[in-house]
Symmetry: C2
Subunit: 427 residues, 2 copies
């Protein structure tokens, strides 16, 4: 399983580079198999519907009891049918859910009334095989836009779910939500609270169309903590802004984005305002940021993960505009790919970002190497710069002046492989 | 001269595809050589400063008398030094100019106080060799950002200008403003007015960083018409919005963009509100649109020129947002490159454009072939679509509904060559 070896390597490398809070214990990636990945009360399966080749393409994650649920969705005006259906279900249940069902290979977007019926059928059949109500199911899809969903194939495949559900492993489910991802994305951690330990586990998919406001990315998170739905939603909103909405691959935002979390409640309770709540939120943010970075690392054709840090902006909004414009600039991204210390392109992007600053105040560093000091003084060692730019992961720090505004984003390079992958995706 | 042969071919092909107004007579590209390109009263030169390899890299266009002048500049907050200097000169002269000087190979951007002094020196030396005042000179630069301008080389090279000035040919000047352009861009036309004929001639450069709000594009236009500066500026503003600001290659906006026009006044007078003014404006717009399309055709790595037409929007602003988002989407542009009728990506881009519409109202055509009808009905012939997508130039028409808003933009595909060109531009 080459793709799992690749996942293990990417996860181990990134985990070693990441600063984790003290309360967190990492679940080793090899434990994502049979030895136990999901928190108590959750099981998952990945089955074959035959939408695309011979690959698992339908994932289901089930809670053994009604779980608090929260989700954030794409803001794309052409949101896909499953997004509409999931929003409805979250509204009509009192924000408790029992399962998530997701297919890959077809986005069920731009599919009109039939698309809505198909998404509802997916929920109904999932409910039927698990003896649940349709409104207790969140539905998601990812893949090509504008092609009718082969709903019959999915409906048939869902029959296999009950016998395939696994307590421990996330492998099949993580694989079943992949599109052009080259490896499945998953991670779990245990969090020490004052009243015991909770686990948070998540899977994600990304690859193309990854941009702030999420793009074609999906992530499903579950925890055994007991959390009220409203509080869970507020934590999810904050953490999404700082993780999945702070990454970009190509500036495109998809029709199908969704991040959902279910809290089953077998473990300790988390109440708003408590120290435990802060510890839990920090761990949730760390896990989501970790999964977000895995998406960037596996961006279509990506070979580098670059952190863009902006400080000294007039306010956070300006800092974010600056970071986002730099992170999305094709010219910056090709320079990153070419390992070219072309800081002028960063300046060009900053200038059109809408952020307010004085040109003469700008400063830029690559890791610890100062590339540009205020007054446009640039006298760095090209050799040292080349050493940093040749790494697979580094940080570009930008100072806009002396203001309080800060932002962090993660981006990747733009390579010829991106063009290859996207030039013939549909065919 | 391979690059001139390429220019002739591109110009002839595009000219044949273009609808021209009745009053316009095209100047054949071969006449851009010694046989006469510039209007009466103008001469131009392109000389060698040695900024980049052995290529002409400094262009000068001179009027034999004070000419009405107008210009539009980049809105990038990090505007280059020559932009500042040119703005100042336009402000302090009563909007009359005698010459434009432009170097390629170095943008003189992000160069601080020294950059300003260098841009002023360029103007002063140009004035000196032509016996003019520095405030009568517009200064422009294009090339790498953040590297000090080799001003001495340019100052020295300007000594050669007086003896190189040519009445007829634009070849040297058009070549001297090229950066990654693969061919020089120039075109001229004669316009029949009630009181005689005027000529409008222009050169341009583009290639990368081409985006609405102009990106690294320069265009210098001259005419023998007699036009008041304020009226010239207002015509330039309108025509720029519909030509150079309606093209995109990669969504990046540069620090150095500038479109300038000089009207020398040897020919008939154009007064606001007259029929001649309308005829003249239409011809100016046609010439600028033509040069803008040449820039897209020669976009870095571009192999296709695609017109994006949006109608039925709530207003023109929505239409423009929709057209621009589609035109800039890397996913749409790679699909265009891959000749893949992936209309779902167009839908995805429309949905995140900010334009208001109902999903079910969307319609999309490639040339005359309907790809998507309202209600997400899509039953086109893949074979016919493939026939259109294999062409080097076609139109994508998008209807958002029944509103009055319309917009037109021109874009190109995103190819692997773009990554090649931009991965190692600086080195």
């Amino acid at each position: 399983m080459k793709k799992f070896r690749k996942a293990f390597a990417a996860i181990e490398t990134l985990a070693a580079q990441t600063e984790w809070s003290d309360a967190v214990t990492l679940v080793r990636p090899e434990h994502a198999g049979a030895r136990g990945f999901w928190p108590e009360g959750f099981r998952a399966a990945g089955v074959y519907a035959g939408i695309k080749n011979k690959r698992r393409d339908v994932a289901v994650i089930v809670s053994d009891r009604p779980a608090s649920a929260a989700a954030v969705f794409t803001k794309n005006l052409c949101a896909a049918a499953p997004v509409d259906v999931s929003k409805n279900h979250l509204d009509c249940s009192p924000a408790t859910m029992r399962a998530i069902v997701c297919n890959s290979g077809n986005a069920n977007a731009a599919t009109g009334q039939k698309g809505l019926e198909d998404a509802r059928s997916m929920a109904a059949k999932t409910a039927a095989v698990l003896s649940l109500q349709p409104e207790e199911i969140l539905v998601a899809s990812t893949g090509v836009i504008g092609v009718p969903l082969p709903a019959d194939k999915i409906i048939d495949a869902l029959d296999d779910v009950p016998e395939q559900l696994q307590q421990g492993s996330c492998f099949d489910a993580a694989e079943a939500i992949m599109t052009t991802d080259t490896f499945p994305k998953f991670f779990a951690l245990d969090v020490s609270l004052s009243t015991g330990t909770v686990r948070i586990s998540g899977i994600a998919k990304g690859s193309g169309m990854i941009c702030p406001d999420m793009a074609t990315m999906l992530s499903f998170l579950v925890t055994d903590a007991a959390v009220e739905p409203a509080f869970l939603q507020s934590m999810l909103n904050s953490a999404t802004a700082r993780s999945f909405n702070a990454i970009t691959v190509d500036g495109d935002t998809s029709t199908n984005d969704m991040v959902a979390v279910m809290a089953g409640g077998h473990g300790p309770e988390i109440t708003p305002g408590s120290v435990d709540a802060e510890t839990f939120y920090t761990a949730l943010l760390e896990l989501m940021t970790f999964l977000a970075k895995l998406i960037v690392i596996d961006g279509e054709g990506a070979t580098k993960l670059v952190e863009i840090r902006v400080h000294g902006a007039s306010d956070d909004r300006d800092a974010e505009a600056a970071a986002r414009t730099v992170a999305n600039s094709n010219l910056v991204k090709t320079a990153i790919h070419g390992e070219d210390a072309n800081w002028g392109r960063i300046i060009g992007a900053l200038g059109r970002s809408g952020a307010r600053f004085e040109q003469e105040d700008l400063a830029v560093s690559f890791d610890d190497l100062t590339i540009l000091r205020p007054g446009f003084i640039s006298d760095f060692s090209e050799e040292e710069a080349a050493g940093i730019l040749s790494k697979t992961s580094y940080t570009i720090t930008i100072s806009l002046g002396n203001g309080p505004g800060t932002a962090v984003m993660w981006t990747c390079d733009l390579s010829k492989e991106y063009v290859d992958i996207n030039g013939s995706y549909r065919t």
